[in-house]
Symmetry: D2
Subunit: 488 residues, 4 copies
């Protein structure tokens, strides 16, 4: 769904061209170029190709990765060696990324961000796993792509992952010393109503008027609205150099193609590291209404903040919605209280239909963050002291077995329950929109979730509300839930 | 009519505060401050107060000057002297210009642009005329304001006005040496449909993607859409320092309050000098559908370009509209041909519903302008060599007498007929929206226009179409034409 | 005398070329160009020609204006009109101002600063006076030049001059709002020993290391050393945008050609306004050893600071010299105490041979100036509140009559005595180096000074010391004093 | 020897303080900090301490490393961990690096450049070798330091070294894409006469006037003069951002402490990689008179350029000297022709006493380099295509055995002879100024060189001239040659 009169479908018109690098890939040694070409021709090729395609297709309004891939089956991308560095050779590239034959600068930046983060940075982080057995022949390439996963072996332990995320963000130029906290993370649905989109834009506008920058998952909907609003707010305040940071990951970039306002794009290896990047880079977090993906993010955040190790860490969190959203966040609040207990309410505030109030809360919140960081001698640019529970950091491999094995009972410590709830929602997101999850459900039927009745009821009630409100109908005409709930 | 979810009416909430200057008014000698204060307390006070109010009220969606004035009857503005310069003391100012008590930077810039151009620069250009006789007592202040007009005596002759406009633009920092032509003037209605607004935005977006800057009359509608679109285009192309220039004049600034994207505002003394500023500053001109004001601009432009003295001057002109505008420009084209002759078509092209094509025409057009200026050794930043006929430069005092005295026959030279046609439309604009014109019509009935039947028919037909298309129904529930047409 | 291995005499090699403007003269209206050309062809031509020649001859080591003029008798400069502005046509210009045929950028800046300040700004400030009668025919041009003087009539009163100096400095881009005080004025001789030059450089180096900027009379010697030193200090501290301001006046610019480090040159109309510019622009003042010109500056400064009207104004003043200067400042100190009284010592400190101490005193001094300005609500960029006695502001026309009429007795108020002492030294400077003064002395013999014996003795003793120390031997092999002292 | 009135010996006054990082070390992960601290506490500590001391002692005029070390025996430097990164804790640091207690910014940059290049970058490049056997106990630390050498094992082959040098330069921020060639390398003696120093400054001035940047070995003498001159040239041309690049190596940085004008300092692992950095980074090379070190550089350069593999590579080379140098370069020329043959003259030109001519040759030279690089599609910022013979790249371990084993006969290919001649001079440099070489000669007597009589005679004649001209008397009162020559 698009709300932007400027967005025009590419209509499958394509062109061939070559593009010179910007940023850190402008200066490569010949050894680096050779290594890069080897990697990009190998197992990572399909991943790189798909992410590049998503970036080039940014004006499109579809959010089905499969549809995009099918529309440009012949798209190819190749790294070409020149004495003085590289260029990218594109064939059958979506024409909408170009103006009179020249690539749009922002899209070029995104393209080389993908190359940097997927191929260059990640060249030591990814490795081909064994191909998934079975499946029809046509899916071979796709399977190969699925089989490539971040190799966790050399990032065991929380410290290693914290450093890895730091390195990826630093390499992307996102860490700025000596700048006061002002980066607000905005989460929420990518497929929301016009009114909710306009509300997220109004919030971004008020944030921008107050000199705050925006960081989102860089797709459409609540990922785009705050950035557009902040752009206008910054312009009215004559603020140059406002930052609109998009944090993505390979599995989701095609489904949530970075919107053109993003002027800093970074691709983390997987969803867990993406969430860690949000938590360590942002100085405050706003959540707009969304679907299960948003719930997953809320659970990650609150489970982390409630960890006793974070008693001295302060992060302002605001849940907000327009009047039209009909009490979305009272339902979420009820769910959170019934699962994680009354104490959870200390970690967020809910603001109903009041962009100015949201922005003021964030403004005073990031000022408190600045004092908190100075007192704890932590950096402004990276929240080193935040402890993210190991369960939040471990990637969750979504399968029918892993989903049904999740323990969802209130006798667990609250952080542990939050971890499992997040995984449950993560699995539902995968079953809804991620290639592999969708195929698993198509093949073996819905995932089964098991747990204490009160929790199961709360989950089921919340998910029914989501369906009723259209928050889970994602690109599919007739929605079949990808899960069933089984109270113990 | 507003299309912007960010625009919220100020709801008459007000505050008192003081504001420090920016730009050229930061450094004033004490003699200058004294002179400034004297002027601003005197006859110019009401004019300055109204323009300041219009600028502060920029988020408002009304375009009735009178309504705005009524909503803030107690608004006051005073220049306060400090050893090191001035500040502006505001009382009962519209709260929407402020964020948490601090004025929005862009609005501060606009406020001091008004002070600079109305009080400081124009202190030698304006003088109080004798008060209009009659009228009820309550209108005294207003009459006083009306009575202040630009004193033409020391700018007699085309050369003097050309220099005056140059000085005002230079003083506003708008002239940039050594920058290649890239400024596109966009004209069109300020009260247009959502679809036409979106179209103007799409055109601006395509212009921005091609590195072109935008100059408009700085109000809403077709004055705002191209700037918003260009902002996104510039952002996608990572162009810093895009220019969004608003050229206004005192009589119109309140009705067309500068939109917040304008990052260079200049206020010319009157409508004729404003048109001259457009013509000398811009490198190409796009016209979107509008009402009689737009027609007036078209006649000014074509009458000028057709002047034999401009045989060697090149200015690209494009008329463009979305599909939904139902042939607006074929009607305009028919009117122009039937009044100014077939030859007029050499001076513009019409592009139907194709933003990319418009932008490409402008891109190649300004490149041709660059070559033309180099060949004629004219400046890029000011079109010195353009000859504007004297009749286009003389202010037209709209009265029942002056309107009925206009000669509208094809035996006139084409430039002379264009001058008179422009005056006729100018009178109709005044009768529709300008304070004085509206009062004249309210008091004495519609203006009478006289001329050759073919011209009268063409005018009447065009104006009927405008009414039928809702292009002349401006903020009034029941529209009564402010003119009658009388063929000779 | 040159201490610079880079300085190479031009050796009278010349070239013809044209130069395009920079800065504020890039954008001129055609009316302005026409006016400018008229002025520059007229009475001001010779003045403009000479100042331009001085600027172009900047690498030369001579400080005799007459010698420079004789070396380039055919040098011509003309303002040429182009549609888009002006250019300067040079004929027989000193080749040392050019590199491979292109003018050195800094010299171009200086050239247009001269045009701006002498012809453009001053076009309303200068007027031709009646030609001096008598004199041989060959001196006609020179007489004409001498006859042009600043017209005082429209700057009567201290306020008017204060505003005039402000306007000239603002027009030159020298006034910067919102910048903390850091501009140190350095005075001292232009013909000093290698050791004194190196000392002034060491002081400038220590100033630069502490982030202070330099303002001088922009010639050689103590006007150049501090700038060179500060350049190195700024470079070591990685300070970009250090300011090296040269303040000159037409009568002295040829004798003290601006050194190449000056990156802001301004030419005030006469010596009194130049002194006023130093006093209002600078935040602290350092005086190095010099000749009678330096004494004149000291008397201007102390006479001003001692004025009761300046009781609340703070200006840090340091007199400093290297060990080799053999107590120069104890002699000056003795002279000041014996003429202006013990109280004068409250207004300066003397630092012997210690650059670090000088710089520390200035650093803490300008910090105190910042507090002083904030308390009095005065601007950082211009000392509005300083009262300069009228006698210091009135130009002193040096003649045999005016010199012998000066009253030099201690029964005068101290400010009045300081005024007269300054005039006496001013006359001696004129008799030494200024064209007209030198000719007067050559024609009618030395000036006669009359006053109280104690003062006469103090003056004579000081001047004898200057002669003994070689501080008055300026370019002349055998020095004959241009004055005689006559106690009353 | 110092020619700078600003340079004042630190006089052993010291202070304790801590310094925060700039540049790339501002943003370190905690793992990196831990690794850095481990390395800096270990075997590399002494190397780091010495280089840091050299940088801090930059105003000093001595060029004896040993003297500097002895003057600050208690100097200590420690990397301190903070949550947000590191700081350096200094104890007993030379006071001359500080202004009123705060470190000079340029020296801070140099200090962190040393940390970056020695500890951070090189942490993977250096490893402790086994300690040299023998020697008295007090020299233990020194031996340990000597024993640390660049580990060549992972940079075998020319390609690997070319990449390594590229990585070090890129990491130091020295490679700038899209900038036209303008970097001139200046070589020559660090202990030269006042006249030669002034000449090198005059050359630098003329280079700066023509917009050329300077790269040297970053010590005093001919390494400093061109930078000082270029600084003035750039200032006169209003060129911001001129680059003064210093390329050093650990063994020489203390003896040739970087002068304060250097605004980009990089420390390569050893002398061979330093020479490679000069050759690949610079666009043209000027050689001033010097001692054997300069000869070594000349032989490296010409041996490389004469390699048949470089037939298509163009590098402009100028040898130049002032009149007072009494034909230094005719002697060098004679030596080169008698050893490498007449053909060698095609690779350089000699300019006598003419800075303007040198600068013009370089200006046209780098323009030809630009054309050459475009034609060969090589980068402007790094000379990828230059082939440096392996013998020039292999570090030459100076011992009595390796010196006497050098084959110096004309039956070798000219590149091979150049390699051996360069090694011979390299050994003589080591015997003169490098810690280890000096100790070897002190212990075992002069090195013995063997070769063809004509070559031996040419070498001996040249070296005698050097001694006669004082070019080998380096800080030592009585010079004993560290070599003997033995014709075969």
């Amino acid at each position: 769904m698009s709300h932007d009169p400027l967005a025009t479908p590419c209509q499958a018109s394509t062109l061939d061209t070559s593009v010179s690098p910007t940023g850190s890939l402008e200066l490569l040694s010949q050894a680096e170029v050779e290594r890069l070409r080897g990697i990009a021709r190998g197992a990572l090729y399909e991943l790189f190709r798909r992410c590049a395609l998503a970036v080039l297709n940014c004006d499109d309004t579809s959010d089905s990765a499969e549809e995009v891939y099918k529309r440009y089956p012949d798209f190819e991308i190749e790294i070409v060696q020149r004495t003085r560095g590289i260029k990218l050779q594109l064939r059958n590239a979506p024409a909408c990324a170009f103006v009179d034959g020249a690539i749009i600068s922002g899209i070029r930046d995104h393209l080389f961000a993908v190359l940097r983060d997927i191929v260059f940075v990640s060249s030591e982080l990814y490795r081909p796993l064994e191909a998934v057995q079975g499946g029809d022949q046509d899916d071979a390439t796709l399977h190969n792509f699925e089989a490539i996963r971040f190799d966790q072996s050399h990032t065991e332990g929380a410290e290693a992952i914290k450093s890895l995320v730091f390195h990826v963000l630093r390499n992307a130029g996102l860490l700025q010393p000596k700048v006061l906290p002002r980066l607000v993370v905005c989460w929420g649905g990518h497929a929301i109503s016009r009114e909710e989109y306009d509300y997220s834009k109004a919030v971004g506008y008020q944030l921008g008027l107050r000199g705050l920058d925006i960081c989102t998952g860089c797709g459409p909907g609540a990922m785009k609205g705050p950035m557009k609003g902040a752009t206008i707010g910054h312009a009215k305040q004559r603020i140059q150099g406002g930052r609109y940071i998009g944090i993505s990951e390979p599995g989701i970039i095609a489904a949530e193609s970075p919107n053109p306002i993003v002027n800093h794009l970074v691709v983390l290896p997987d969803i867990e590291k993406r969430l860690e990047a949000f938590a360590r880079l942002g100085h405050g977090i706003i959540v707009f209404p969304g679907g299960v993906g948003t719930l997953e993010e809320i659970l990650f955040l609150l489970g982390t903040l409630m960890d006793p190790a974070n008693a001295d860490v302060y992060v302002p969190v605001v849940f907000t919605e327009p009047a039209i959203s009909r009490g979305y966040f009272s339902k979420v609040d009820a769910f959170l209280v019934s699962t994680l207990g009354e104490r959870v309410r200390a970690y967020y505030q809910i603001v109903e239909d009041d962009p100015v109030q949201v922005a003021r809360a964030m403004k005073s919140g990031v000022e408190k963050v600045a004092r908190n960081r100075r007192r704890s001698r932590d950096a402004y640019y990276y929240n080193w002291l935040l402890n993210i529970p190991q369960g939040m950091k471990d990637p969750f491999e979504v399968t029918h077995a892993s989903m049904s094995a999740l323990k969802l009972t209130r006798d667990l410590p609250v952080e542990a329950l939050a971890v499992n709830l997040r995984r449950a929602f993560s699995g539902i997101v995968a079953g809804n929109v991620k290639d592999k999850g969708v195929r698993l459900v198509r093949q073996f039927g819905p995932f089964e979730l098991r747990g204490e009745r009160a929790i199961m009821d709360a989950m089921d009630s919340l998910l029914r509300d989501f369906v009723a409100d259209g928050r889970m109908k994602i690109l599919r005409e007739q929605y079949n839930p990808c899960y069933t709930v089984h109270p113990l």
